[in-house]
């Protein structure tokens, strides 16, 4: 899931749970779903490493994409 969608979904779940009008089973299920989503999102954020490529013209009008060496 895209980070943007995950954040929106997480907010939706949290707000819904906070309304407090759910049956207990539903509430626990939603809580688990939300917490799992928060954990997965946090993991994705922590694990993210910037990917850097460059477009290179190897021959005339032939482009290739190669990793860019930052160092």
């Amino acid at each position: 899931m895209k980070i943007e969608e995950a954040l929106a979904k997480l907010e939706e779940i949290t707000a819904r749970l906070e309304r407090g009008d759910l049956a207990l089973d539903e509430a626990i299920e939603l809580f688990e779903q939300g917490l799992a989503m928060a954990a997965a999102t946090k993991r994705d954020l922590d694990a993210a490493r910037l990917r850097i490529d460059q477009v290179v013209e190897r021959a005339k009008d032939t482009l290739s994409v190669e990793p860019f060496d930052v160092s």
């Binding site: 954040l7 749970l17 906070e18 407090g20 626990i28 946090k42 954020l45 910037l50 990917r51 477009v55």
Partner: protein, 404 residues
């Protein structure tokens, strides 16, 4: 001895004028414009100065067409002759030609192009496209060896490492730069990652002289920018440098680093907001569990074993899983909430209606009744009663009521 000649003021001024005009003739002079003033007559008055001195200059109306508006601080070349303004005995330069040079010339060309493109609507705010709040694919058009790309990458790596950056190398100064920049813009506009176009492209270079930045004031480059199918963020030079590219781009950033900064969210803030959501979830479920606990207690008082055993077990299992997940949640400050939830779980266990039954107690009803019997007086000999044990139920008939 003859009397020395006595000039009148007018005579001397006229003499001086003749000397100045014939001795020097027509000359070129270069200097910086000071206090230009267009008089109602159409004549233009200003002074030219250098580090040490200044000369008043006048360009009479109709002498030569204006090449460009003359502005304070502009460096100009003037052609004309030095003369004396006789009524005041001041000497001044009468210019037949005024022409911006160097930076002044660039400046004049810049102003003309800017005005032209503005009139064509290229700077129209309605043309500016919004950038996505969480960009995934970011193009950069700049020199692969310049500081600009290095700066952009450094900011993105710290601030928004979820992005995928693609560099479209181009020279950023010199004669080849405009054509290369235009080619890079076309490539970036067509570029896709997994079928998705770039979210936007950062277009720029580090600081430099006015001549170094010339490519970013090129009309062809400006038109290529305005035709870009994806939003462009202009990031040219230092804060003070303003280029035509800045006006045409969808967003203008003062420097390449600032461009990376302004176009991305901060991963630390997003992370904190996810942790806030997690804490809110825990608070909400804790409140909900407290409600449930209260409800269960009163339900127990009313009817101890209405709840089928399987349902209770299922709830308990869910609660266990929830607590385990809480404990596994990474790097958050949830400890107090987890403690609260563990306590709640314990409360729920203790209020489990099966606990007393497991110790050998039982609950008895008159058959067809929902209130547990608390006193022998609530039944009578001959009545059918039902006894609920930890495992199984008994149906019996009352023989005798004692000590009621």
């Amino acid at each position: 001895m003859n009397d020395p000649r006595v000039y009148t003021v007018s005579e001397l001024n006229r003499e001086a004028r003749g000397l100045l005009e014939t001795a020097l003739g027509e000359v070129w002079m270069k200097g910086e414009v000071v206090a230009p003033k267009a008089a109602a007559s159409g004549h233009l008055y200003f002074a030219l100065k250098d580090a040490e001195a200044r000369i008043d200059v006048v360009r009479f109306r109709g002498r030569s067409p204006a090449l460009a508006p003359i502005e304070e601080g502009m460096v100009v070349l003037v052609f004309g002759r030095l003369t004396v303004y006789e009524p005041q005995g001041r000497y001044q330069f009468v210019a037949s030609l005024v022409q911006p040079v160097g930076a002044g010339l660039l400046h004049a060309a810049f102003e003309r192009l800017k005005e032209k493109l503005r009139l064509e609507g290229l700077f129209d705010p309605a043309r500016k496209r919004p950038l996505p709040p969480f960009p995934e694919r970011i193009g950069v058009i700049t020199s692969p060896t310049g500081a600009a790309f290095h700066d952009i990458v450094a900011v993105l790596a710290r601030r928004w490492p979820l992005a995928h950056v693609v560099l479209f190398p181009s020279s950023v100064q010199g004669d080849a730069a405009p054509a290369e920049l235009i080619l890079a813009l076309a490539r970036a506009g067509r570029f896709t990652i997994d079928g998705q176009p770039l979210d936007f492209v950062i277009f720029g270079r580090g600081g430099g002289s006015a001549e170094d930045l010339a490519a970013f004031n090129d009309e062809r480059v400006a038109r290529a920018l305005s035709a870009s199918p994806i939003p462009v963020v202009s990031a040219v030079g230092h804060d003070v440098d303003v280029t035509i590219s800045d006006f045409v781009a969808d967003l203008r950033a003062p420097t390449p680093s600032a461009a990376a900064e302004q176009t991305t969210p901060d991963v630390a803030e997003i992370s904190a907001s996810v942790e806030r959501s997690a804490r809110r979830l825990v608070q909400a479920i804790s409140a909900r569990l407290l409600d449930a606990e209260r409800a269960w207690r009163s339900a127990l008082r009313a009817s101890l074993v209405r709840e089928p055993r399987r349902a209770i077990e299922t709830r308990e299992q869910r609660l266990d899983a929830a607590v385990a997940r809480l404990a596994a949640f990474p790097r958050t400050r949830l400890a107090p909430q987890i403690e609260r939830l563990r306590h709640l779980e314990e409360v729920l266990r203790l209020s489990d209606p099966r606990r007393p039954l497991a110790r050998g107690y039982s609950i008895t009803y008159n058959v067809g009744d929902t209130t547990p019997l608390r006193s022998g007086r609530e039944t009578a000999p001959g009545k059918l009663i039902e006894t609920v044990l930890a495992s199984g139920r008994l149906r019996s008939r009352v023989e005798e009521v004692r000590d009621a």
